[in-house]
């Protein structure tokens, strides 16, 4: 059974169709890189899978069922946009707040919960973050903390929304590596959205390219081609392959790099 299936689905925000009439299926254990220009619907797609945004037409099935909020089989790492600067909450409490965080009453942290959190932090190589304050963590450490949180409760599907944003190249590699290792071991299906394809090339099984309301899912050599991307970007695109890297160019400019820089300037608010 496919993990995520879209059948002629249209997903709209405030009446504007972001994804139009798209169909694809993601199989168990796949590591999918989700790419596309800003506003192409990467976050929107994840919010739909989470059950926050039902399709206006067509079908969306997650584990064969209509998505519902709070499905414990889905781990989610939201795009980091609300960084409260002076939040001196330690990592342990930060993750603990998400455990049964939807229940009413006073917060509590059982010994079993604490153990589970520490074990998961161990898995992503970040045990020391449990006692460190969020405000003292670097960008890479924060992403590891969020990744550990997404892995809590043994999810079968992981939705990672731009986990590489604001990380330097070396930290990006480390984060990708940790995700790849943990998810292969546990046979977790991954949707990993990013701005640049090249870092992901060694990790992903297939790529899901979004743009212009369309979606193309397939192997990198099938999807990342001039005709397919020209359709998705709605402009003439050139694809150059050199030294194991792929460059996606529009009128001689690297579209991915431009999008990335653009996002930095706006602190990731573009989505």
């Amino acid at each position: 059974m496919s993990v995520v299936t879209l059948d002629r689905a249209t997903i709209a925000i405030n009446g504007r169709a972001v994804l139009k009439d798209i169909s694809f299926a993601i199989e168990p254990g796949e590591f999918i890189g989700v790419l596309g220009p800003n506003g192409a619907g990467k976050t929107t797609l994840m919010r739909s899978i989470l059950g926050l945004l039902p399709p206006t037409s067509g079908q969306l099935k997650v584990f064969g069922e209509t998505p519902r909020c709070g499905n414990p089989a889905i781990g989610y790492l939201p795009q980091l946009r609300t960084v409260l600067p002076d939040l001196r909450v330690r990592g342990l409490d930060y993750i603990a707040s998400s455990l049964n965080g939807e229940r009413w009453g006073l917060p509590s942290l059982s010994a079993a919960d604490r153990k589970a959190i520490e074990a998961t932090l161990d898995d992503v190589g970040a045990r020391d973050l449990a006692s460190r304050a969020l405000s003292d963590m670097s960008g890479g450490e924060r992403q590891r903390l969020l990744l550990a949180q997404a892995l809590m409760g043994q999810p079968k599907l992981l939705l990672l929304d731009e986990p590489l944003i604001s990380l330097d190249a070396r930290h990006q590699e480390v984060v990708i590596d940790v995700i790849k290792t943990v998810c292969r071991e546990r046979k977790i299906t991954v949707l990993f959205s990013a701005h640049e394809l090249n870092q992901l090339l060694g990790a992903i099984d297939r790529v899901l390219y979004l743009g212009n309301g369309h979606a193309e899912l397939g192997r990198v050599d099938e999807v990342v081609t001039a005709p397919v991307l020209s359709k998705l970007y709605g402009t003439e695109i050139e694809v150059l392959r050199a030294g194991g890297h792929i460059f996606v160019l529009s009128r001689g400019r690297d579209v991915e790099r431009d999008a990335h820089n653009h996002d930095h300037g706006h602190h990731g608010h573009a989505h």
Binding site: T82, L84, L87, R90
Partner: protein, 273 residues
């Protein structure tokens, strides 16, 4: 000083209000909504003077206006967003209305200073009972929503995905802030609500990383500042609100200067590389 009943009353009222302010303020700081708390108190000023104009007790006008404003602010945005300008305009307008109401009800003017700057030494038994009631309602309701409130404050996107009703939580919380502000204004006045609601909480967040330790420290700071403020005022004859404000500032800036664990952070950071 405990031979005077008004002193005992002052300690009781200030104690109740300080604990509520410290606890509610902790979440206000965590959510980055301190300015909203400040605005609510100014809106309360219009309510209090308006109530005086139509012959009601100022406290009920204060509660009515802050509560209504808190709920409206919560409904308008389920995310904490930059609405500083809108809030600023509304709070100035409220102070303006307060002034207008005072203008038409001149005999009330003597109470204006008490409203603006607090008058804890004039608290009677009825007021203490009312404040205790407000405290029970506020802390009780906060205990009910605390878990999803923390989740929604720290990670709104994830909380939403897990089915936490963000808008309801944010509205309910601002309603509780409104009640706390109304109580707090009785002690330090509408202009100085920050001293008990934000100062202690912000200082506590600087000094602790744990959730419960921060909450308890925040309440303890507020209580200590309020009581010590009254003691200093008693011996010096300075206004109580000034003493509390001075202590609040002292504690806050001391906390800022306090060496946090940044030294250790730098160490582990290098180590990790």
């Amino acid at each position: 000083m405990f031979q005077y009943e008004f002193m005992i009353n002052a300690f009781a009222a200030a104690g109740i209000v300080a604990v509520v302010s410290g606890v509610v303020g902790y979440f206000l700081v965590m959510r980055g909504q301190t300015f909203a708390g400040h605005a609510l108190s100014h809106i309360g000023f219009a309510g209090a003077t308006g109530a005086g104009l139509i012959g009601l007790a100022p406290l009920w006008g204060l509660i009515g206006f802050t509560l209504a404003a808190g709920i409206v602010m919560g409904l308008l945005s389920d995310r904490i967003s930059n609405r500083d300008v809108a809030i600023g305009v509304v709070l100035s307008l409220s102070l303006g209305f307060g002034l207008l109401f005072l203008h038409y009800y001149t005999s009330f003017a003597t109470q204006a200073t008490a409203l603006l700057f607090g008058n804890v030494l004039a608290v009677d038994h009825a007021m203490i009972a009312t404040l205790a009631g407000l405290a029970v309602v506020t802390l009780g309701a906060l205990a009910v929503i605390m878990r999803p409130l923390i989740f929604a404050s720290l990670q709104p996107e994830l909380a939403e995905a897990k089915g936490v009703p963000l808008r309801f939580i944010s509205t309910a919380f601002l309603a509780l802030v409104a009640l706390a502000v109304a109580a707090c204004a009785q002690i330090v006045g509408v202009l100085m609500v920050f001293t008990l609601m934000v100062g202690p909480a912000a200082a506590a967040q600087r000094l602790t990383k744990g959730l419960w330790s921060g909450l308890i420290l925040s309440a303890a700071f507020a209580l200590g500042e309020a009581w010590l403020g009254i003691v200093i005022a008693y011996h010096s004859d300075w206004p109580v609100s000034f003493c509390i404000a001075a202590l609040s500032a002292l504690v806050y800036f001391s906390a800022l200067a306090w060496p946090t664990r940044r030294v250790e952070h730098v160490h582990t950071h290098h180590h990790a590389h």
